[in-house]
Symmetry: C2
Subunit: 218 residues, 2 copies
């Protein structure tokens, strides 16, 4: 107790401490001062390992992007894309603050690697350039959009839940919206809409690839 050894600051320790804070209290709770205190260091010491706060947040996103599972090289392309999509969703659920930052900032190497993997799978399906582009965006928009939407009620306003939102709306003006919110408040265990739509997209791309491969369309 008397001989506590302060472990040295590293960019890794700083990023991990920041992740712990963000996962618990949200990205808004991170300040250089509180983060330094949590690490038992002077505020300015952090700047020996990180250029500024923006780059810290980029490093946090890269760190969690690295935990997304990639398919082994020989895998079927549909299974490959599916695995990346499912794992991305799982990881984003583990870090509820991350989905907003994900779309808002320019990717780093880890995220480029993920995009490269998806594009590689789509290319191996035999899709031409324009349909590969279409497929990448369809998959990414679905994964990020669906996950964002799942996390929205929980995250944005900690007190707010989907049911409460529906209760506040005027039933005369927003009947469909209220139905829709109620629908989302229920559990739908029979088919997970995330996987349902994901497979819809993948099957559609598969069909396009086959049509292209057999030379039916240009």
């Amino acid at each position: 107790m008397a001989s506590e050894q302060k472990s040295p600051l590293t960019q890794k320790r700083i990023v991990h401490a920041a992740l712990a804070v963000a996962d618990r209290d949200g990205i808004h709770s991170i300040s250089m001062r509180t983060l330094a205190t949590a690490l038992d260091a002077g505020t300015m010491s952090l700047y020996n390992h990180i250029r500024n706060k923006d780059e810290l947040i980029d490093a946090m996103v890269e760190d969690i992007a690295a935990t997304i599972e990639r398919p082994e090289p020989g895998a079927d392309w549909k299974q490959g894309v599916r695995q990346i999509a499912v794992s991305t969703r799982t990881v984003l659920h583990r870090h509820p603050w991350a989905v907003e930052v994900w779309s808002a900032r320019i990717p780093g190497p880890q995220r480029w690697t993920l995009m490269e993997a998806i594009l590689d799978q789509l290319a191996s399906a035999g899709l031409p350039d324009d349909l590969t582009d279409l497929g990448l965006h369809a998959v990414l928009n679905h994964v990020l959009g669906h996950t964002r939407q799942e996390l929205a009620a929980v995250r944005s306003n900690p007190g707010t839940h989907v049911q409460d939102l529906a209760a506040e709306l005027d039933a005369e003006r927003f009947p469909h919206v209220i139905d829709h919110l109620r629908y989302h408040a229920e559990d739908h265990p029979t088919h997970d809409s995330f996987l349902f739509v994901l497979d819809l997209i993948l099957d559609r791309l598969d069909g396009m690839a086959r049509r292209h491969g057999t030379g039916t369309a240009h």
Copy 2:
């Protein structure tokens, strides 16, 4: 010149001034102090018309959401949804900071009205509840995802362009990503991918509605 009359502060004047600043310099450039100065008022005067900064930003989003065109009541449902989607994209391009805030915060009346309109159109197509839900998210994810992606290069880092990103990447590790970025840097006037995918989604929903209507599937 000697008899300048200060027009009184209103929530509308404050929101419009904030929109002008955000459209020119980004949402980050808005502070209560600079905004008050722009309005030739004391900082704390703003708080007589707006509860806090978060509600100001919500009010800004609501203000631009109100400018999105809605279809006239009798319109064909596909044309109706299409018009809302196209107009949303146009409006978000006019306010490049808005697409991030859009997904991050809980909707207000204007945005609920838009969702109500889309859901109403989808219901009039004869889609059952679960496919209406699927259709709403497909349309919203596409509109927001595509628009975000169009704006990303321009907005996030004012100096960065898509071509520069591609030039910085290691050609050995990211061949597909580089191709993809180059593809996006080109103009593709022959078919706008926004409309192409939008119509793909709408046609798909139409097909589902017809199959459901004729009782072929449950």
